[in-house]
Structure formats: structure tokens, C-alpha cells
């Protein structure tokens, strides 16, 4: 079995993220702490010196550590149906029984900030958290972008809510949003997001210096540390390492034979194991739709409107023709030979239109597409034998 070169920068990212949780636990005694959804405009929160934690990121961590099923069962014992989002069930299980959870759970929040641009499930999840913790909840309602570009009244609504959000944070934390600090955070966020975009584009090289499972690990700072210096540093180092690899023609998968596109959230409990048969067959996932979700552009000169535009137009909040265009464009730019789609029981926004995306890629670009039904955290929905057989058949077809 061949050895695969590991990216050294991922070690740095992993240790930054490990420190991130420890630091938050300590700092939460001194500063207000907000739980935020992954698509929330965290730049405002960050600029006010409020700590943030991401229950979704924690859900992924529970999945990756193999702790999710036990936690889901704790939530299910209190009534949560087993077909609900497994991030939510894992996290709620950890809130109910922190002693059995990774890192002994997350520190108690002072505030909850929920933005529905990634899914409607977060509303219900955060409502549950508001009841469990009895803390204030802000809902930022970002309407579905049914046509592209977004209609002006949608952007006006989101912009107005951002103003309400700032006022709400000021009331609950007695902190002020200072323009110079906000400007600096927006600039950091923009820099991190731009670096992240450049990192994703490295997949265009042949061989690709990076494989999607690496990106699933590397994405943590752009999700959880957007707007901080740390995220920028992590990505500068990763970018430099990828440049080195390109200069030396080192591929993430030695002897790269096939280039593939991944769709949907990772299967966290099988992160590298799932991809191993692909790597053994010389197949590298050179691009994906999941890590592409944090590539929106911000303009520090027009902060609120640009935040409103950026957070409305995130990948899973836009109309299918636009998403199809993005995916078809990725398939062409990254010169992929096929696509693997994870039909993720826990994520309807990502999964519900997958069959139509498959048909389009197959019919218009002639690409083979494999759809595998599984779940991002709930291992009970992963059929090892069936996945192995279908992956083998797909690789043979390539």
C-alpha cells in the first residue's frame, strides 16, 4: 500500500484548532461567548471582541472522533427523532451530557446567533439551545436567493437586520462596534477568504497538490477563525507548502490518474478511510462544493451591504441554475473525470437536488457520477459493504 505525502501545514491547523477550543474555554470566563452558525456574519461579532464557537464545527469534531452516535442517542432518548440532522443531535447530546462528550462539551454560551443561509434546521437547533441555556437568541433571516443576482429588497432586508444585529449585540454585551476595529476584522476576513480561494484553485494543477480530505481538515480556520490573524497565518503557510509541491510536481495522490469532484459535507467518521480506495486507484479529489462555501468576497469600504450580499449568495442558498453553473464551471476548470456525491441524510439543502445535478453533468459534460447515501456524523447510516462495492464499480468504470 503506497504512502501518501502529508501536508505539514495541516498539523499546524490541527494544533491551532485544538488550542482554539482550549482558549475559548478559558477566555469564556472573561469575555462574552456567542455560539454562531457557520454562515453567520461573524465579522461583526469578532470586531466587538465577543468570542465565538461553532456548534456545527463541534458536530464535525464529534463525528471525526467517532463520538457522534453515542451523543445522538442521548438526544434521541429525550425525544429527538433519529432522522434529524446529526450535527444537531450530536451537539444537543453533548449539551445534555457534557461529561461523555469530546472536550467535555463546549463552554456555556452567553448569546446565540443563528443565520438560516445554510439551512432551516439551524433555527430549530438554536431554538432548542435557547431553551436549554436560557440565553438570548438572534435570528438573522437570509431569504433564499431564487434568482441571481439577489433581488434588491432581499439585500435591503438582510442589511437592515445587520443593523438590528449590531444594536442587539451592543445591548446584550455592553460593547460597541468600533469602525476601525470592524474595518480591520473585515480586512482579515477578506484576506483569509482570498487565501482560501487561492488554495482551492491549486487543485487545477496536474498533479493536484491537494486532495479534498486535506481540504476538509484545512477548512476549519476559514469557518471558525474568519476575521482573525490566525486564519491568515495558517493559510499563508498552507499556500507556500502547496507552491512548493507544485514546483516539485508532487501530487497529493502519487501517480494521479483520475481527477474527481466531491459534493456535500464530508463523511467525518471515515474521513481518510473513505478516500483510501480512490487514492489507491490514483484518483484525487481536486475540487469540491463543500469547502467552496466559504469563498464569498467582502468589501471593507462598504461593510454592511457587502456582508449582506456575501452571506445571501453562499453556495447552498442560491438557485439551482446558478449552482449548476458553478459546478459545471468547476468540472471544466479543474478538468475532472467524474464526480462523487454524498447524499447526506443530515443535509437536505446539499442533497435534495443532487439527482438533477448528476443528470446535467452526465448529459452535458459526459461525466460519470456516483451518488452514495450516507450521513456526515451518524455512522449507523453508513453501509460499509455497499459503499466499498459501489466505489469499486465506479473506479472500474473510470
Amino acid at each position: 500500500m503506497p504512502n501518501y505525502p502529508r501536508l505539514q501545514s495541516l498539523k499546524e491547523i490541527n494544533s491551532v484548532m485544538a488550542r482554539y477550543y482550549v482558549q475559548r474555554k478559558l477566555l469564556a470566563r472573561l469575555k462574552p461567548l456567542a455560539y454562531v452558525t457557520s454562515g453567520a456574519p461573524v465579522e461583526i461579532v469578532e470586531a466587538m471582541g465577543i468570542l465565538t464557537l461553532y456548534p456545527e464545527n463541534y458536530g464535525a469534531l464529534c463525528g471525526a472522533r467517532g463520538a457522534a452516535v453515542d451523543l445522538c442517542q442521548i438526544a434521541e432518548a429525550t425525544g429527538y427523532p433519529a432522522d434529524l440532522c446529526s450535527y444537531a443531535r450530536s451537539h444537543i447530546g453533548a449539551v445534555l451530557q457534557p461529561k461523555d462528550a469530546p472536550l467535555k462539551g463546549m463552554p456555556r454560551p452567553d448569546l446565540l446567533v443563528c443565520c438560516n443561509n445554510i439551512c432551516g434546521t439551524v433555527l430549530k437547533w438554536y431554538e432548542a439551545l435557547a431553551t436549554l441555556y436560557d440565553v438570548p437568541l438572534f435570528i438573522l433571516d437570509v431569504p433564499f436567493q431564487r434568482t441571481t443576482p439577489a433581488e434588491s429588497h432581499i439585500i435591503a432586508y438582510v442589511t437592515e437586520q445587520l443593523r438590528e444585529f449590531i444594536a442587539w449585540l451592543e445591548v446584550h454585551t455592553e460593547r460597541r462596534l468600533k469602525p476601525d476595529k470592524f474595518h480591520a476584522v473585515m480586512a482579515h476576513s477578506q484576506e483569509a477568504v482570498s487565501l482560501w480561494q487561492e488554495i482551492l484553485e491549486f487543485g487545477q494543477h496536474k498533479p493536484s497538490p491537494i486532495n479534498s480530505p486535506d481540504l476538509f481538515v484545512a477548512m476549519a480556520p476559514v469557518v471558525a477563525l474568519r476575521g482573525t490573524r490566525q486564519a491568515v497565518d495558517c493559510y499563508r503557510h498552507l499556500k507556500a507548502e502547496l507552491e512548493d509541491r507544485v514546483a516539485q510536481s508532487i501530487g497529493a495522490v502519487p501517480g494521479e490518474r483520475y481527477r474527481l469532484l466531491w459534493d456535500n459535507i464530508a463523511i467525518w467518521y471515515r474521513l481518510y478511510r473513505f478516500f483510501r480506495p480512490f487514492m489507491d486507484a490514483g484518483a484525487c479529489f481536486v475540487a469540491d462544493t463543500y469547502t467552496n462555501a466559504w469563498t464569498v468576497e467582502l468589501d471593507p469600504e462598504e461593510p454592511l451591504i457587502s456582508l449582506a450580499r456575501a452571506y445571501t449568495s453562499v453556495f447552498i442558498n442560491v438557485d439551482l441554475p446558478t449552482r449548476l453553473r458553478i459546478i459545471a464551471d468547476m468540472a471544466r476548470r479543474f478538468q475532472v473525470d467524474g464526480m462523487v456525491m454524498h447524499a447526506n441524510r443530515s443535509c437536505k439543502p446539499f442533497s435534495i437536488t443532487q439527482a438533477d445535478v448528476r443528470d446535467r453533468l452526465r448529459d452535458e459534460l459526459g461525466l460519470p457520477v456516483l451518488i452514495l447515501e450516507a450521513d456526515m456524523c451518524d455512522k449507523r447510516l453508513y453501509n460499509e459493504g455497499s459503499v466499498r462495492e459501489r466505489v469499486a464499480a465506479f473506479l472500474e468504470m473510470l
Partner: protein, 362 residues
């Protein structure tokens, strides 16, 4: 009690410009004013397998069935389809409908998630105006304010009548009762109003089964009304319904739109004032508080949650509501429905629950 509307299932082709819709937030009166006859596309038990080629296996049957019916040609003749923004599945359906049912124009209505803020009201008004313009550009005719006021008055009359029907809910067998409520979504309002008014004029309504006084008083909670199997089992188990918290149930008819003023503002204010479904948020007007108040005012003996499998909003909502009921000691039961729901399995659980409530009464 024999329903005066024996077969509420109206043939699509017999209606004037029939407009299909899903979700509990489509402003029906606006479409009515444009000459459409809005009718809810209820899910049916038959699965022809057409939607399975497009939707993953973990899609609720409400959505799956609507797409299945459309792809099977069962909805041919619809002049349009309307969906309001509610859950992730309906959002996906917006995309899938446009792509796969191109002959039936789709109207998407961006109902805000938040119901409590000034900005939500401003946005909702802009959405109503946008919907009005999109309808006008599809039909080629303007929607005049006068016509809209008339449609609002017609729908207000339906709501007032259905509220009177709800006040007598306990006198009906649940199956008959919900057949009547469901007909409000499938029959032209002009006919429905007259039929229902006639029925309500009858001085006394004979009890459907035995003596209603001894039958447990139930409040169903859930999404749609299209599961006759559930209401049939409830009827056979000897229960009666005294109200509900169904998305298309009592809350849907709860209040009138104001008769005066700007008609779009009237529609917006009504949508914002209703008890939210689980896909919406109002910090003060919570569903748990509303359910507890219903239980108290209707002297309900128990609550049955009727959840469509894979429905996230109602799945989370069940936990919040059932815990609220536990705190005050109100018995409840959760039943999950899907396309292949079998009467036998439902019957055993519902009968046991009703029997337990009957024993509690004694």
C-alpha cells in the same frame, strides 16, 4: 353526520385557472384576485415512482408526492404552482419544479422566517408586491385593489365559517370533521362557503359515534391534513377532536385580514400575526405557549403529534412541545407517517393511547 360535501376532491380540469400550492403561507387571496382558483396539492397514498428519480430517499412524503403527481401528469391543467419559503425541502422543491415541470409556472413566495421585526414586515410587503408583479406578468392582467379587497372578503368569510365549524369540532367524528376542513383547500371558496354555511345552519348536529361526553378530547399537532388514515383510526378508536395545532388546521383560519386599508398590508399583517408554524420564529408568540393555552381552554385530555417522517421542523418542534406538555402533565403520543403507513400499526398505538385517556377520565 353526513358531510354536505361528499367528495371534496375536485377535478382540476373543472376549475377556473386552478393554482396548486404547498405550505401554509401562500397568500391565496392574491392569486384568487388574479383569477386563479387556489387548491392545495395534498399528498396521496399512491407512489408512481416518478419523484424518486429526483429526490433522495429521505424526503418527506408531502413533497415527494406533489412532485410525483406532477411528473405523472396528474396535475396537468394547473395554471400555476405556488410555494412559500418554509423548510429546506420546499426550497429544494422550488428548484426541482422549475427544472422538471416547466409547463406549470412556479411562483415562489419569500415568506420571512422572523415574524417579529419591522424589517420583516417591510420585506414581506416587498415580497407581496414582487409576487403581485410576477403574477401580473404571467397572466398579462393587472390585479386591481378592488378585486383584491373582494377576494380578501371572500377568504374572510371562509375563515369565519371554518372557525364556527371548529367551535363544534367535538360534535363530529374526526374523519368527517377533517374531510370538511380539507375541502376548504380543494373546493372553490364561493361554493365551499355556501355549503358550509348551510351545514352550520342545521340546528343540532347528531353525534357521530356514541356519546361524545365520554369520548376523550384530543388535540392533533402536525403539518398537513391529508392523512385520512390517521383521522379514520382516530375515529375508530372512539376519540374526538376539540381543536388542533396543524399547519393547515385551526391556526390557518384563526383570524381575518382587515377589510380596510392597503390590501397588501392587510395580507402581510395577517400572515405575521398567525401562530407560527415550526418553520417560523416569533420570540413572544411561541407554539408551546399556544398549545398549552389550547389544552387548557378546550379541556383536552391528550395531544397526538402527527409527524411526517423526515420532517425536520416538526421533528424538533415535537421535543419543545412534548416537554412543555410533560411539565404540566398532559399525556401525548407521537405517530410518524410516511407513504407506506399502515392502518394496522397506527391503530394499535392510537387505540392504546385513547384507551389510556378513557381510563384516566374514569
Amino acid at each position: 353526520m353526513q358531510s354536505p360535501i361528499p367528495n371534496p376532491k375536485t377535478e382540476i380540469r373543472s376549475l377556473q385557472s386552478p393554482l396548486g400550492f404547498l405550505t401554509a403561507y401562500v397568500p391565496e387571496a392574491l392569486f384568487h384576485a388574479a383569477g386563479f382558483t387556489p387548491m392545495f396539492i395534498f399528498h396521496t397514498p399512491d407512489d408512481r415512482g416518478h419523484a424518486r428519480a429526483h429526490l433522495p430517499g429521505f424526503t418527506c412524503w408531502v413533497t415527494d408526492s406533489a412532485l410525483d403527481q406532477a411528473l405523472a401528469g396528474k396535475l396537468d391543467g394547473l395554471a400555476g404552482m405556488a410555494l412559500a419559503q418554509t423548510c429546506d425541502t420546499v426550497q429544494g422543491m422550488t428548484d426541482l419544479w422549475r427544472r422538471n415541470v416547466p409547463d406549470i409556472p412556479l411562483f415562489h413566495f419569500g415568506m420571512p422566517l422572523r415574524l417579529d421585526s419591522t424589517s420583516a414586515r417591510t420585506y414581506l410587503l416587498a415580497e407581496l408586491q414582487s409576487l403581485r408583479e410576477r403574477i401580473q406578468s404571467t397572466t398579462g392582467y393587472p390585479i386591481h385593489d378592488d378585486a383584491l379587497q373582494e377576494s380578501i372578503a371572500l377568504y374572510n368569510r371562509t375563515r369565519a365559517l371554518v372557525r364556527r365549524l371548529y367551535a363544534r369540532a367535538g360534535d363530529f367524528a374526526p374523519y368527517d370533521f377533517y374531510t370538511l376542513v380539507r375541502a376548504a383547500f380543494q373546493t372553490p371558496k364561493e361554493t365551499y362557503n355556501d355549503d358550509l354555511a348551510r351545514l352550520l345552519e342545521q340546528p343540532a348536529i347528531p353525534p357521530a359515534l356514541g356519546s361524545p361526553g365520554s369520548m376523550p378530547r384530543i388535540l392533533p399537532v402536525g403539518s398537513a391534513l391529508a392523512d385520512p388514515i390517521f383521522f379514520a383510526v382516530l375515529t375508530q378508536a372512539g376519540a374526538r377532536v376539540v381543536g388542533d395545532l396543524l399547519d393547515l388546521g385551526e391556526r390557518y383560519f384563526a383570524m381575518d385580514a382587515a377589510r380596510n386599508g392597503n390590501p397588501l398590508e392587510t395580507l402581510a399583517d395577517r400572515l405575521l400575526a398567525l401562530v407560527p408554524t415550526p418553520t417560523k420564529y416569533h420570540p413572544q408568540r411561541t407554539r408551546a405557549a399556544h398549545l398549552l393555552s389550547l389544552v387548557q381552554t378546550r379541556s383536552a385530555d391528550g395531544v397526538i403529534f402527527v409527524r411526517q417522517k423526515f420532517c425536520e421542523p416538526h421533528g424538533f418542534d415535537y421535543v419543545q412541545l412534548s416537554h412543555a406538555l410533560d411539565r404540566v402533565g398532559v399525556p401525548h403520543l407521537l405517530v410518524e407517517l410516511e407513504q407506506a403507513s399502515q392502518a394496522g400499526q397506527l391503530r394499535t398505538r392510537i387505540e392504546a393511547f385513547v384507551e389510556m385517556l378513557t381510563t384516566n377520565q374514569q
